[in-house]
């Protein structure tokens, strides 16, 4: 595999379902080898459709999709990828060992190798004690871990994870995150389709945000989030007079005990805030323009007003408030 060549590349990828729903509308995407790539989007944006096209379960209506240098769905490409479906299910009679050996055989592994990898992977996901127990009594989190283990069979070059933390408790979520970081360390490319923005933020090298079947923004997380109109000020020895001047200069000031957040009209106001702090005789420890969180960037990019969230939350807490979906999305 050429190191510069994307491991997954979509060009003007389009998918229209027989009922007429346009799930993808000219999607362009490139995932580089060895990176953890986050794929974000609201429900119905086309995330799962993209993954299903990548494994060959769906046929594209237009455009092209290459996986591991071959057309999506090609058998040689499928031999080198691992896939965890969003809702992983399998017959209740099967044990983790039986299921993994079954998938190992389909992958072309010999009987002994399937058995060896099954045991090792089930152990790795923390289910070694129940490896031969039928899964009908497993919790959703345990089933999800079995699914992860089957996705890791054969040491895939590309791992497609569709909502891997769905249904997991915080411990399970943490375990998945650690696993993704471990895989990144080993050079495995991970395509992570998730609603869990904090997970994406913590694990992904790059992300793409899609909406209505198109990529609206792609790049490193730092390149996607934008500065807000807030500046965090950390200082010691601030006087009441100094705080009053800060409040008067900034659009608003909140905080206490040496840590405040000031609203500014633009970047040009930041040096003025520093001058006020220093002039008041206080010791300025930090002055940090605050960046959006990935969630705020996501909401902004998919058309929901980011700044309205706090006001919306306040309104919902009032007695007699009525809930309605956020504006900007169906």
């Amino acid at each position: 595999m050429n190191g510069d060549r994307p491991i997954l590349r979509a060009e003007r990828l389009t998918k229209v379902y027989p009922a007429g729903a346009r799930a993808l509308d000219g999607l362009d995407l490139a995932v580089r080898p060895g990176e953890v790539f986050g794929f974000l989007g609201p429900n119905g944006a086309g995330k799962t459709t993209t993954v299903l096209l990548a494994i060959g379960a769906l046929a594209p209506t237009g455009g092209s999709l290459e996986v591991l240098g071959r057309p999506a769905g090609d058998r040689a490409a499928r031999a080198r990828l691992g896939y965890l479906p969003e809702h992983f299910q399998f017959p209740g009679f099967a044990s983790p060992r039986g299921l993994l050996e079954f998938h190992g055989r389909l992958l072309g592994l010999g009987r002994a190798e399937s058995r060896r990898q099954a045991a090792a992977l089930v152990e790795q996901v923390g289910l070694g004690a129940v490896i031969d127990r039928p899964v009908r009594g497993f919790s959703k989190g345990m089933v999800q871990r079995v699914g992860l283990a089957q996705a890791l069979l054969g040491d895939p070059d590309l791992l497609l994870l569709d909502e891997p933390t769905s249904g997991l408790d915080p411990l399970g979520t943490r375990a998945v995150r650690d696993l993704i970081l471990y895989l990144r360390g080993r050079g495995t490319t991970v395509f992570l389709n998730s609603h869990q923005l904090s997970e994406i933020e913590l694990t992904c090298d790059r992300v793409a945000i899609i909406d209505r079947g198109r990529v609206v923004r792609a790049g490193a997380v730092e390149a996607i989030v934008e500065p807000t109109h807030e500046v965090e000020i950390r200082a010691s020895g601030m006087t009441a007079e100094g705080l009053a001047r800060l409040a008067a200069t900034a659009g608003g000031l909140a905080g206490e005990d040496g840590r405040w957040v000031a609203r500014v009209a633009g970047p040009g106001d930041v040096p003025r805030l520093a001058e006020i702090v220093v002039a008041s005789g206080a010791r300025l420890e930090a002055l940090v323009p605050r960046l959006e969180t990935l969630e705020e960037a996501f909401l902004r990019l998919v058309g929901v007003g980011a700044g309205g969230d706090d006001a919306r939350a306040d309104a919902l807490r009032r007695p007699g408030a009525r809930w309605s979906p956020p504006e900007g999305r169906a």
């Binding site: 060959g56 499928r78 479906p85 299910q89 399998f90 017959p91 099967a94 079954f102 998938h103 389909l106």
Partner: protein, 289 residues
């Protein structure tokens, strides 16, 4: 080629385990035991009352025993075959459609497996357990009848082979249908087709009564839409043996002209291969969502 066979057998093996762990298979097993019990009761009634039959001119004790044995075996194998076919319809109609609607086929589709291998594996995995039950219970019935009556019906072996062929046709048809239709729609279509073609003799008789050549021809050629009726007729005639001649003039008169055609087994095999190809094509050309 060898790897492809490995994958087909792997899917078949998993499907066998899935089948035998299912409630449908348990229900079919219990129904099969009930059929054997019913056949034994009917056989016992005939056995106890065979005296008058044996006393008829040209029959005698030996032929009377054989007749009782053939009646008992006919009920047993006919019932077992019906249970196996219904099991094939219910499980076959769910084989692909159910996996697609539940989304469980996706993990399978992500593996380097051809769609045709999935279809073949499903067909084998559904056919084998049903055929084993049919063959083992059918053989047990033939042996039991032989022990009780002292008559071994050798025709039971080719009859069982024909009933296995009928089962294979139904399994393949069900899996092929399930590659395109939902489980419910597929089950309804298959049941209508099965009971329709196995009862075309009614249409044929109506054609005779109305002197309608068109209705009679429709019944004759309609049986080829799903060759199970004619294949099971062939098995029934084998099992009936001398009973067929004895029944001449009672029921045979109205179905003269509707006898199984000599090439029907060959046609059933060709039909099976065609349905298999359609099933593979049906799954290959659809989205798995």
């Amino acid at each position: 080629m060898r790897h492809s066979l490995d994958r087909v057998l792997t899917i078949a093996g998993f499907t066998v385990r899935e089948t035998v762990h299912g409630r449908g298979f348990l229900g079919a097993g219990l129904a099969s035991l009930a059929v054997l019990g019913l056949a034994a009761v009917v056989g016992a009634v005939f056995w106890v009352n065979r005296g008058p039959l044996a006393g008829r001119p040209g029959i005698g004790e030996t032929l009377a025993r054989e007749i009782v044995a053939r009646i008992e075996l006919g009920i047993a194998l006919g019932g077992l075959s019906l249970v196996a076919v219904l099991l094939a319809v219910v499980l076959g109609a769910d084989a692909l459609a159910g996996e697609i609607s539940r989304g469980t086929i996706l993990a399978l589709a992500a593996r380097p497996v051809a769609r045709a291998e999935i279809v073949l594996g499903k067909v084998l995995g559904l056919f084998l357990p049903a055929a084993v039950v049919l063959t083992v219970m059918g053989t047990a019935s033939a042996v039991g009848t032989g022990v009780l009556t002292g008559v071994w019906i050798g025709d039971a072996v080719p009859a069982l082979a024909l009933l296995d062929l009928e089962l294979a046709v139904m399994v393949v048809a069900a899996v092929a249908v399930s590659s395109r239709l939902s489980r419910t729609a597929g089950t309804v279509v298959l049941l209508i087709a099965y009971f329709g073609v196995t009862n075309l003799s009614q249409l044929f008789a109506l054609g005779q009564a109305l002197h309608s050549d068109w209705l009679q021809q429709a019944a004759i050629w309609g049986r080829l839409l799903l060759p199970v009726g004619e294949v099971s007729d062939l098995a029934g005639r084998l099992l009936a043996g001398p009973l067929t001649a004895l029944a001449e003039g009672l029921v045979r008169g109205v179905t003269d002209g509707l006898e199984p055609r000599p090439w029907i087994v060959g046609y059933a095999v060709v039909f099976l291969a065609g349905a298999l190809a359609l099933g593979c094509l049906g799954l290959a050309r659809r989205d798995l969502r």
